[in-house]
């Protein structure tokens, strides 16, 4: 398949944070082949990191993704700490867990909103994005920033949580929890969503293992793996929480996993605030010796993996970054092929790729002739929901 000028809205578009290009080959209603082209916005961060000091590279990886701007820095500092065996003070570990869970809350809310939009539930879209606001407010209280937190450093964190701020954080969390309960009910008890999402885009457990799928994508297919529990980091082994799994592997299961994970996140943050000991937040390490280190973090989309090699100088010799979508993306070959075109958008969105990826959808028939673009696809997806509603006598 060629990548010639078949893109309807240029490879870069002001509305998209990440350009990607999907190509679906369809036979009538059925998807028979999929291909994806990425790299339109490749920034060479791994190469760039080799020219920066260990302190600077944390800020660079923070800018890999606007949503995961806590996961990448934690994975990076953990890799460097692994090289030198640096101990991190207790209090800093708790603060790392808090920022991680706030990030998960806001990421899953964004996803839920977009999934709602693709299905024609624009109320869910607006609710979910509105209820993300308290999360951003708490993030601002904890880190000083709503996004790109600049919180992590090798050996600890940069900012402490003030005692005076804790009542405010708890109050905003309570507010959020009532809204989450409402969203949970609205989504999980909705017969239309059951009819629309169950049984489509199934990723079997065998395929999930073969592709080494990660995060909610694998946990919805019956794999009980979570870096937070399996490779404990930050304060996750000091508190009680559950790994959420589902067996079905369809889009509905992925939705359920994300919604229930948000409940766990709120509980984790509360426990961390409660148990957080007093003390220093930074162990102030000096030099990084030669060696290799690996950092693993459970980002909202799955395991974020950093490998750092040091030769004893001030900057890494090699810094490998593997974001979770990198492993989840290729599974679309198993989940999309054989499904109908109207389900393609939501199936591709179900792995939670940086969402704008799906905006790059383009349908071609066997002769590479362009048939429809993304807005028509989303419309088609929304119409299918409306049809189901009509059949059930709801709308």
């Amino acid at each position: 398949m060629s990548h010639k000028a078949t893109i309807p809205i240029g490879p870069y578009h002001p509305l998209q944070e990440e350009p990607e290009f999907y190509k679906l080959v369809v036979d009538g209603e059925k998807v028979v082949d999929v291909d994806v082209r990425i790299g339109y916005n490749h920034r060479g961060i791994e190469k760039l990191s080799e020219s920066k000091s260990f302190d600077q590279s944390i800020f660079i990886v923070e800018r890999i993704c606007g949503i995961c701007s806590s996961s990448h820095p934690i994975a990076c500092v953990q890799a460097v700490e692994d090289i030198a065996g640096i101990e991190v003070p207790e209090r800093a570990l708790y603060i790392r867990s808090i920022t991680q869970e706030l990030e998960r809350l806001h990421s899953h809310l964004l996803w839920l909103g977009l999934a709602g939009h693709f299905l024609g539930y624009n109320t869910v879209f607006m609710w979910a994005w509105k209820y993300r606001e308290p999360v951003c407010d708490i993030m601002e209280t904890v880190t000083g920033n709503r996004q790109n937190y600049a919180m992590m450093k090798v050996g600890g964190v940069r900012r402490d949580i003030e005692k005076d701020h804790i009542p405010y954080i708890l109050q905003r969390l309570d507010e959020l929890l009532t809204k989450l309960e409402m969203l949970k009910g609205a989504v999980l008890d909705d017969p239309v969503l059951h009819a629309r999402l169950k049984g489509i885009g199934i990723l079997t457990k065998e395929d999930a293992i073969d592709y080494s799928a990660l995060g909610p994508t694998s946990r919805a297919s019956g794999i009980t793996a979570d870096v937070r529990r399996d490779h404990p980091y930050a304060a996750y082994d000091r508190i009680k929480w559950n790994v959420i799994t589902r067996e079905e592997g369809d889009v509905f299961a992925k939705t359920v996993v994300r919604i229930l994970e948000m409940m766990e996140s709120v509980s984790i943050i509360r426990q961390c605030l409660d148990k957080m000991p007093k003390g220093p937040i930074d162990s102030k390490p000096k030099d990084i010796p030669p060696g290799e280190g690996i950092g693993q973090v459970e980002a909202p989309r799955g395991e974020c993996f950093h490998y750092v090699k040091s030769d004893g100088s001030n900057s890494p010799v090699r810094h490998k970054v593997r974001a979770p979508t990198y492993m989840n993306f290729p599974t679309f070959r198993e989940t999309v092929i054989g499904e109908t075109v109207s389900d393609a958008t939501i199936i591709l969105a179900a792995i939670d790729p940086c969402y704008c990826c799906t905006e790059r959808l383009l349908i071609v028939n066997d002769k590479d002739k362009e048939l429809m673009n993304v807005s028509e696809l989303i419309k088609m997806s929304q119409e299918k929901t409306a049809l189901i509603k009509k059949k059930m006598g709801i709308a």
Partner: protein, 161 residues
């Protein structure tokens, strides 16, 4: 149980094919092997020992192109990285592991274009990250690659007011 148990299993299975073992901590170990054995090791670790394939990472070392295949055992919480060294930098070759795990599909494409490593048996080594007009034979993650200097003032569309 634990990392030592898995390392012993690998040593018992492959004997002298294990060239060197470096146990960094309870959670990390590095195993050096010969490049020609990579498929056997991957099959044993991924299929028989049920490790998860994290990712592979290339490094342009002085002696050649080094590739690390990272595997982790989630049930016990540790990572074992298999290290191979491809000595011939002018034409590095290694067998593909996509026959064992399809999770290696993209990373082999990536290492192919960024380090110029040929994965024998992988029929899909199309460009993944680099642009279509990137020159052949230029591998940006090799140490001898020098990024062309960029003068933004000369670029189209940038006018100083």
């Amino acid at each position: 149980m634990g990392i030592d148990d898995s390392l012993n299993k690998i040593k018992d299975r492959f004997k002298e094919k294990v060239l060197k073992v470096y146990r960094h901590s309870d959670k990390r170990a590095y195993v050096d092997i010969d490049a020609k054995d990579i498929v056997d090791f991957t099959r044993y670790i991924f299929k028989d020992l049920s490790f998860r394939f994290n990712i592979a990472s290339g490094v342009d070392a002085l002696e050649g192109i080094e590739i690390l295949y990272h595997f982790c055992l989630d049930a016990e919480g540790f990572v074992i990285s298999i290290r191979v060294l491809l000595k011939d930098k002018s034409d590095p070759h290694i067998a593909t592991i996509t026959g064992v795990t399809r999770g290696a599909w993209w990373i082999e494409r990536e290492i192919h274009e960024l380090f110029g490593v040929e994965f024998d048996g992988n029929s899909d080594l199309r460009r993944l990250l680099l642009p279509d007009d990137w020159p052949d034979g230029v591998y940006p993650l090799r140490k001898d690659f020098v990024a062309p200097k960029r003068d933004s003032r000369k670029e189209e569309g940038h006018h100083e007011s």
